[in-house]
Amino acid sequence: MLRFALLRTLSAIPTLLLVIVVAFIMVRAAPGGPFADQRVLPPDTASNLAAAYHLDESLPQQFWRYLSGLARGDLGPSYHYRDYSVAELIGNAVPVSLLLGALSMLLALLVGGAAGIAAALRRNTWFDRGITALAMTGISVPVFVVAPLFVLIFAVWLQWLPASWSGGNGLQRLVLPVIALALPQVAYIARLVRGSLIEVLSSDYIRTARAQGLATTSILRYHALKPALMPLVSYLGPAAAAVLTGAVVVESIFGIPGLGQLFLQSGLNRDYTLVLGIVIFYAVLVILLNLLVDLAYGVLDPRIRER
């Protein structure tokens, strides 16, 4: 187990390095720079700035400087928010993004899971078909359509909830973004759970249990549910990635000061280090999540562990 985790972690390093190289090249090849402005800086000031941020070195030198900083756990200073380090800025935005993402995932798991189980138990009834159709709709309607519609309906027309992050307090302002972000995942999870529970319920050993006279609830609780929910574990990785992506849109629609917004802005500002820092953060997050999913699988399924 430990060896497995270690191997996976080690194999993530080349991936990470690739991410860094690609992002570094892209952000550096972009026109403009962190200090460009229509109030063009006089040559002396510009060269002093370049020297202060080592932008006067050759690109390979700068890349090496960045990498060695990284090896020491230093993401460097932000080029736009000159008082702040990249780590501070990311640290500022992460709690907001994490709260948003975690609540959405949770909501999706609860609602999607329940809907999927209910649909599977009432297979081929109107209820099941309704859930399936709803799920299909949920998958098909992208978050950047859902979120503005929510704003239009619940904030502009009904005026129940604030239209933006800075327009409300606490839980209030979380409601619309969390639901908008969760919706497609609810749909996926409902479909996934429904399909897999139906398959488990039709397997031989459940039939045996049923033949022994066990009630449906206890069959579900003791025998069917856990194996039926197993595929969910493997879905968590892609789901988390999708939530992170959707968060960029949701944050921009609701004006939430999270990582997605920070990333877009850092790109527009050519804040080189911040761009790289956030890309690396996301890459590590995705790699970690995938690793966790694999490990969870190992724990839950002994056959994989022994492999």
């Binding site: 991936t15 892209m26 090849a29 503005p148 890309v279």
Partner: protein, 283 residues
């Protein structure tokens, strides 16, 4: 008895969804192609006296006009064109890369396969969408970049599926026969394996296109897609958000069209997959 009848009925129903969604898509595509020709307006023409007009029948303003007085119907239709075009071409790009990569890995097997698939695994861990955003933020936006960006995301799935199929096909008699009579591996791949991949590839293509539509409109929504005055559905939705309060039709009409289109694509893909590959049938 009843089980068989139920299966037959379901098949029929599913093929009905396939038929319905396919015709819906055909209608949308046709409207996108012909709509701008029928309308007296041009998608670029501004009219400062007709800004934010609600939908009306006179003057063929069926979708109303936007904040610059441009006709929303024509813009929505030409936006649909752009979205579809980008999605189809990008999917095709991912298809070519994915099929070539997957077939080679699957057919070669052994170390080559292991290395190639390990690379795919590694690429899965990349935060692609962020690199794409970076790409679009940093450079002048053009169609080519969008194709490359979306294709780069989507070919991984295709490569995995094709590889799996190739592994199975490789063991079939006709491949053995070809090998025995001395056909070169390259020729086997091109002449014998690839044609047999066609079915599954087509099915997955119908599932890839809506994903590409999604990515394209996602980028356009963030203002990183096609350049004004050209437009796409995502860009229209984005503009609609800005005028939510005063002109909700600017959001509602393109958003609905986009949703319906994606729904039809997903139903079509699902239906086709079920027909072709019963293993994936949702029971």
């Amino acid at each position: 008895m009843s089980g068989i009848a139920a299966t037959g009925g379901r098949r029929l129903r599913e093929s009905r969804t396939v038929r319905v969604s396919a015709s819906l898509l055909a209608i949308i595509a046709l409207a996108a192609l012909l709509g701008p020709l029928i309308s007296p307006h041009d998608y670029r023409d501004t009219d400062f006296n007709a800004r934010l007009q609600p939908p009306a029948l006179d003057d063929f303003r069926v979708f109303g006009s936007d904040d610059l007085g441009r006709d929303l119907f024509v813009r929505t239709m030409s936006g649909t064109r752009v979205t579809l075009l980008v999605a189809v071409v990008a999917s095709f790009v991912s298809l070519v890369i994915g099929v070539a990569y997957g077939a080679i890995a699957g057919y070669a097997g052994g170390t080559v396969d292991a290395v190639m698939m390990r690379l795919v695994d590694a690429l899965y861990a990349l935060p692609f969408i962020f690199l794409v955003i970076l790409l679009m933020v940093a450079f002048e936006r053009n169609f080519l970049l969008i194709f490359v960006a979306i294709g780069a995301i989507n070919w991984l799935d295709m490569a995995r599926i094709v590889r799996g199929q190739t592994l199975a096909l490789k063991e079939r008699e006709f491949v053995d026969a070809a090998r025995l009579i001395g056909v070169s591996p390259g020729a086997i791949l091109v002449r014998h394996i690839t044609p047999n991949l066609l079915g599954i590839v087509v099915v997955y293509l119908t599932l890839t296109i809506p994903q590409a539509v999604l990515v394209e409109s996602f980028l356009s929504f963030l203002g990183l897609g096609v350049q004004e005055p050209a437009t796409s559905l995502g860009a229209l939705v984005n503009n609609g958000v800005a005028h939510l309060e005063r002109a909700p039709w600017l959001l509602l009409l393109p958003a609905t069209l986009l949703a319906v289109m994606l729904l039809a694509f997903n139903f079509l893909g699902d239906g086709l997959r079920d027909l072709l590959d019963p293993r994936h049938r949702s029971q």
